[in-house]
Each structure stands twice: as structure tokens, then as C-alpha cells.
Amino acid sequence: MPGCDSILAPEGWETGVAGMKDSTNSNRRFGRAALAGCAAIALAAIPAYQLVAQQDAPSATDLFWGELHLHSNHSLDAYITDNTTVTPDMAYRYARGIPIEQPGLDRKVQIRRPLDFMAVTDHAEMMGLFTLLNRADETLLSTPWGRRAMAAHVRDPGRNGAMSVTGAGMSGPPGPDEAEMMSQIQSDAVRSAAWSVEIEAAERNYVPGTFTTLFGWEWSSVVDGGKNLHRIVLANTDGEGASGFIPYSSQDSQRPEDLWSWMSATRDRTGIDFIAIPHNSNISGGLMFQMTDSDGEPISAAYARARQLWEPLVEVTQAKGTSEVHPEIAPYDEFAEFEIRRKLLIGTPTPADAGDYARSALLRGLQIQERTGVNPYNFGMIGSTDSHTGLSSVQESDFYGKLVSDIPLSEHVLGPRPVIFPAWEMGASGRVAAWATENTREGIFAALRRKEVYATTGTRIALRMFGGFNFTAADADARDIAAVGYARGIPMGGDLTAAPAGRAPSLLIHAARDPLSGNLDRVQVVKGWVDEDGEAHERIYNVVWSDDRQLDADGNLPAVGNTVDLATGLYTNTIGAVQLATVWQDPDFDPDQAAFYYVRVLEIPTPRHSLLDAIALGIDVEETGQPATIQERAYSSPIWYTPAR
């Protein structure tokens, strides 16, 4: 049975256009040696049951809420920042609604609304090292370096013990001096021992139909002194399948191309499909969405095809900020200044760069498609927390921070301690919403693959978006939007082409507020396109809004207002709307120009956790250095229009 926040969808409707790009170039060989392993990504090699995901697109889906980026005490950095206790199993149990003990505060905590699906995604690098030491794992202790690490761990069980022997352990492939050490403490046998704990936890907590666990980990590539290229990797398999491989780590390679080669080779060997989901592009120093590959060569069709196959999604909102757009890149966007992080992982300032943000990447994708015929950046959007506390926490009113050592008010509760990511700077975000046929591994993975998923900043806004050429204005009034959408269009994440003569595409959009959060302010469509000169353009349309406001001549809408009482932290839903629906037709459509459309839904302002903390502490919210209120939001996965050849 679907979660209670699910929208009931109709049954028995046909669906629209197939979305996967053509595969005419699928047999082209990759030119350069570095990409040789990627040759196997040719679409022809994909098992049929995966290829046809779009053709088999469902005609009825329910809404499921999930978390696809969460760390337990199996992550090295989580353990040494005081999360010694929350195992992968406990992390799953918390997400299912079972109370567990919160590390640091030693109190039992329970999630307010259980999740429908989750992947615990610990760093592959040195995965589980400390828990293996704690239980004196025989595989590890059978090696000289393992014994050295153990001796240091017993001498100092904190961060200065084992890590003084093994090194930081998350900094890429070992140098020649470390090779012997790595071959022992990160031998296949040791990595399997750690991975098997993750597998067991995922298996134990999988309740098909109620709670889905996916197998995943984080590939933690950091290059050029702190530039973040991290990816979450997810596998579409069961426990037995998951035990057939060892998570690929940045110690194997720091290059995304090599990660894709591994995914490809492992899929060919095991039949298991994988996807990689980049996150924190906002702190990648411009490297996440470049116009070039890792060697600085212009992106080729082969690279683009590999990337679109292996990276169909991007995580655009999480604790360390949003990666949709930067106010300096889109100064005309009045909502761009939102949870922006301006520091790299190592704390150094990072300027706004088009290579860092999803919207500019979607535009670059269209430009690269113009040149090569393939769009490397046609990704959907999700949110997740990246919490290292083992607790998937997104509530402004009860936010547990990114690291245990950074929990809100830690100084007040636990005394002075090093704070790496001050909780007030972190966002209590995000969530991934999936329109899936059923809450099972197969159902959720298929929704991720076809990008029928979207991102929110933690709120549970329900958002439908369909594109097509056959909607009428009256469809916005339909009692069952999904029935109309699936019958006469394609859902979010899909592709349109071959516009009928003289017709522009329409989007059928329906947004409903989170029943436990603020009303809706407005729905916007963000359009990006490339003109005949190859120039990229973007435009934001306000398409439906609350409270009878009027657009001005430039299409701008007055602010919705703000009911938050700064003294009490209370707000009222006396402004905004419960649901907003519309059919929006592109007024500036040119059938010869490639374009994308995605939807952004904004809530009315509600109190941010920084305000609630300030009230609790009796200090001025300005002392937190963060805004008092926040307009929570949802970002749909885009729909693309590609001109017919």
C-alpha cells in the first residue's frame, strides 16, 4: 500500500512518447584509451528490460518519498566526527519510523514521517574501517598493516589512532609509498567484509510495498585541492547480486570516466544496472558540468552518450546548499539567492561558475548536443540530505545537522568542539520524490531511470508535470490530472520531438502543498533554449499563483507576503494556495530550437531552523548569520524538446 501522502493515480491509460534518445551512434568506438572501457556503454549492449524503461512507461503511478544520500558510522568521516553508533541498519530503521538513539545527545528520536525508500550510501573509501577495528575483524587483522592500524586504534580509538597509520583515507588513489598498506587494509576481502554489512542491513529492512532499500555508496572523488566530484552510485539488484561486486572507490580512480567504465564492465559481467548521481556540483570549482572531459578535450559524442546513460540524475539540493542556480549567474531570477554555499569542502571561497549549477549545465547540454548530436547533461533532479548522523533529517523545526559534531546548539549542549559545517549554514534539505508503479526495488529504480522523479528542499509538495501537444486549457480543471497527463502527454523526465506544424508544446502542471507545511506561493516554468547561433538563453515564466495577484508588464508577480511571527516562529496559511494547476503553452516556441522546461514550485515563507534556534536561545536571528524565513520549494525533472532531423 502506498504511503498516505501518495496521490492516487488512475489506471488503464496509454502513455506517450518514448524518451530514450536514438541509438544510431551506439556502435561508434571511443577514440581515446582512457575511455576504452566505456565502449561497452553502447546502447545495444543494454539488456532489453532496461532499455525499454521508457517504452514501458507506466500509465498509473503513486508518489513515494525517499532519501538517496545518507551516511552511517560506516563512513570514515562520519565516525571520526562522533557518529560512532548509528549503523546502516539503525539508519534504515530510523527512516522506517522506528525510534533509535541519537548520537551525541543520547536521546531516542523518531522520524516524524517515515520514508518510503532509502539507500544508505557510505563512502566507499575505507568503508567501515573503524567498525571493522572495533570488532577485531579477522580479515583485517590477518595483515601486517591491519594489525598496525589495530594497535593504533586501541591506543587511540578516535580520529588520531588508526588514521595516523592509514592516512586520511579519502584522498584518492594511494601513492607508491601507500600502495602496500592499501593492498592490505583495502584488500578485496576487507572491502567485501564492510560491504556485506551494508548488504545485510538493506536486506533486513526491505519490506516490499512499504519500505524499499536500495544498494548504494558514495564515490568520493576530490580533485585540484578540494573540488568536489562526488557521486552516489546505486545498483538495481538484490542482496545476492550486490554481493557480486565491491563498491568502486575514488582510490580506484578519481576520474568519472573510469567510474562509468567500471559500471559498464560490472553490468556486463553481472547483468546489474547502475546509475551515478553527482551532488554538490555547487562546490566543484566549475568541474562538475564542464564543456570538456577530464583531460580538457571538448566533450565528444561518445563521452556525452556515456554520461547520459550513467548519470541520468543530479542531486540539486542537500545540506551543503542548492545547486539549481547561482544569483550571480542568473541575476534576473529573484529566487536564485537561496541556500547558496560559497565555500569548497576545505573551506576556501569559490566564485560562481556555470560549471557548478544545474540550470547552466542543462543549457550547456543543449549546446553540446548542437555540436555533437548528443546531450551529456539531460538529467533529472532529486534532493537528499547527505546527513552523516545516520538520521535523515529535513525538518526546520527539528534539524539534526550534517555531522554529529555539528548538531545544532552543540556548543551549548556538548561544550566547545570543532565545528566543520555549522548547522545554521546547512540546509534542512532535501527529499527525492518518485512517481513509481509500486514501492519495490524494481519500481523505484525504474522511476529513477526514466527520471520520473523530482527534488524538494525537504517539504512534501506533490508535483505532477506532463508535456505534450494535445492539452487544452480545460485540462487544468480535470479531476484527475494524471489520467489526462498520461493519456495525452509524457511525464517529467521525458522527451518531445517533431512538433506538429504551427503548434507549441504545453505543460500540464498540478502542485499540491505538503499537508504539514506552508501553502503554495506560485508555480514557475524555467525554459532554456539554444538559438540558431548556438547562444544559450533562459527565461522564467510565472504560470499559476495564489491570492489573485496580477502580473506586471514584464511578467513579474508581487511577493506573496510573509505571515511568520519572528517572536514566536509561528506562521499561518492565510496566504497562498493548497493546490495550483494550469496548462501552460510556450508562447515563444520555435520548432527548430532545442529546449528544456522544468517546473519550480515555491511555498509561502515559513520559519527557517536558524530562526527557531534563535528563538529557543533568546538571541537575535541575525546572530545566526542566516535568514529568518525560507521559501521551501520543489524542482521537477525537465522535459526536453529536440527538433526533428
Binding site: M1, P2, G3, C4, D5, S6, I7, L8, T84, T85, R93, I98, I100, E101, R113, T131, L133, N134, R135, A136, L141, P144, R147, R148, M150, A151, A152, V154, R155, D156, P157, G158, S164, V165, A462, D477, A478, R479, D480, I481, H510, A512, R513, P515, L516, N573, A577, V578, Q579, A581
Partner: protein
């Protein structure tokens, strides 16, 4: 302290802690303010230097370091001995001067070592026996009670839409129509304004119902009796609702067998926490704690 003792039995742990224990014995036998003549003796032998080498390298492998040691030139050995002597003298002097007292860094460091030992020790609590599981179930029967399950569908009258004559009049009109036509469970969509969430609720607890409709609606629903007739209107945060409330199962306590897995999980969770608490309690119990004008935690 069984678990800590077990940990201490590990040869490696033993080896590493040995140095610390010797120091403790040493400190106990020697007055702090003045060092007697024998305490002024620093014996430099192969064993002392091997231990020193291993601490310095944060690596504990006697074989490897013996080979290193044996390969050292006299000059290198002399240099090593000098470093060792200097460190040993400084460390003894510092302790003799009481420099390790009132140092919160050292104190926290010691506490932290115990904390981590305890954190590591909790990983494998004793598996509960069948009898213990049943006993837990009997004692915590309430924890396993399943709330009543509700099955209903509803016709929604949207507060955000204009209805001629008002929302309530519209609700009365629709209610009469639904009853007159004997509308069934699956006919509701034909009458309803668009409800943004689920229409049918099948065997759902009241809590998620309250999360969608608000607590007032849930409270009203709880007072109704299941019936084949349309009832209402009930009010929610979104407007009014006519409900066809067809079934409510009573709250019940499942048999042990039915919830065995949950009982096991609960016992294991309890034991994980209890193991840690017990260790620390046992540790405190070794001390004679005297409260002076201070309320105690377990006054009862």
C-alpha cells in the same frame, strides 16, 4: 566489567595497554613529590628501545622492529637511546611535578579511551533466548498493539472554490444526491472537487489520515460508526468531506508469533543500549560515591 575484561584479554590490546599499566603501577609505588633513588634509574636495554621504536612508529610488530633494531649501527643505536632517555626523563619529571593533574585535555583523552572501548564493545549483545523474547512480549504488550484501521472514501468540497449558496449548502446537496443514487465506494470521483491527495483510504491508521486532513477531521472520523450510507460533512483544513466509511477494525494486540521479528528487534535495540549503560554503571559501581548536599539521580 566482563566485556572490558574480555577486550583486555586480546593479546594485542594487552600488549598495547601493558605500557600504560606499568606506568600506573610505577606511579602507585612512587610518591609524586620526590623521586627516590631507584626511581631515578632509567634502564636502557634492547626491550625498552624496541618498545620505544614501536610507539614512535605507531606500529606494533615486534618481528619487524627487532630486525630493524638488529640492523642499526652503533651510532644509530646511541642516537635512539639518547632520544629515549630524554623522553623518559621528561615524562617522569612531568608526572613527578604533577603536570598530568588538572589537565583537562589529558583527562578528556582518558575518558574518551574508555568511551571508545565501550562503543566498540557493544556490537555483539547476547542473543536473547526464546523465553526472554516471550517475557519481553508479555511485559511490553502495549508496544505491539495495532491501532484501529479505517477504510473510507470521500467526496471533497473545496474551500478554495466558489460554490453557489456556499460550501455547506453544496455539501448538503451532494449528500442528498449520493444517498438518493445509492452511490458506491468507486463512484466518489464523479462527485468530488479535485482533492490533491488520496481519495481512498484502505485499512489505514488514523495518524497518517490526520497528517493529510488535519487532526480535526481525524477526530470527527473516529466518532463515526462504519455504515453503507454516506455520512458528513466532516471539516478538514481543505474544506468539507462527505465520507463513505465502510470499515473499522478494532485495535488489537497481535499474538507473539505474529510480531516475533519486531520483538527480536526491540530486544536487540534495548540490549545494545543496555550493554553500554551497564558497562558504565559497573564502572561507577566500583567507586564509593558520597553525595554531600547534592540530590542523587536515583533518590527513589
Amino acid at each position: 566489567m566482563a566485556l572490558i575484561r574480555k577486550l583486555l584479554k586480546e593479546p594485542l590490546t594487552h600488549f598495547v595497554l601493558l605500557g600504560g599499566l606499568l606506568f600506573a603501577v610505577y606511579a602507585a609505588l612512587n610518591p609524586r613529590d620526590t623521586l627516590d633513588a631507584s626511581s631515578r634509574v632509567i634502564t636502557v636495554d634492547r626491550e625498552a628501545l624496541l618498545t620505544f621504536l614501536q610507539y614512535r612508529n605507531s606500529a606494533f610488530e615486534p618481528g619487524y622492529f627487532e630486525a630493524q633494531y638488529d640492523a642499526m649501527s652503533d651510532e644509530q643505536l646511541a642516537e635512539l637511546a639518547e632520544s629515549y632517555v630524554r623522553e623518559e626523563a621528561m615524562a617522569r619529571e612531568a608526572r613527578a611535578l604533577g603536570l598530568d593533574e588538572n589537565d583537562y585535555v589529558i583527562r578528556r583523552r582518558l575518558v574518551q579511551k574508555i568511551e571508545y572501548l565501550v562503543a566498540g564493545a557493544e556490537l555483539e549483545p547476547e542473543p536473547p533466548t526464546e523465553a526472554e523474547l516471550r517475557a519481553y512480549y508479555d511485559e511490553h504488550r502495549d508496544d505491539f498493539t495495532q491501532d484501529a484501521e479505517y477504510t473510507f472514501t470521500h467526496v471533497f468540497i473545496d474551500a478554495e472554490k466558489d460554490h453557489p449558496g456556499g460550501m455547506l449548502a453544496e455539501a448538503q446537496r451532494l449528500l442528498a444526491q449520493l444517498r438518493a443514487r445509492d452511490a458506491g465506494f468507486n463512484d466518489a470521483p464523479g462527485y468530488s472537487d479535485r482533492f490533491p491527495y488520496q481519495r481512498n483510504f484502505v485499512r489505514q491508521y488514523l495518524r497518517p489520515v490526520a497528517q493529510v486532513f488535519g487532526p480535526d477531521f481525524a477526530a470527527q472520523l473516529a466518532t463515526l460508526q462504519p455504515s453503507d450510507n454516506w455520512q458528513g460533512p466532516l471539516s478538514s483544513t481543505f474544506g468539507l468531506h462527505l465520507v463513505l466509511f465502510t470499515d473499522r477494525s478494532e485495535a488489537r494486540t497481535p499474538d507473539f508469533e505474529e510480531v516475533r521479528a519486531q520483538v527480536l528487534a526491540a530486544v536487540e535495540e534495548d540490549r545494545r543500549i543496555a550493554t553500554r549503560e551497564t558497562l558504565l554503571d559497573e564502572l561507577v559501581d566500583q567507586y564509593d560515591v558520597r553525595y554531600v548536599d547534592v540530590p542523587t539521580g536515583d533518590a527513589g
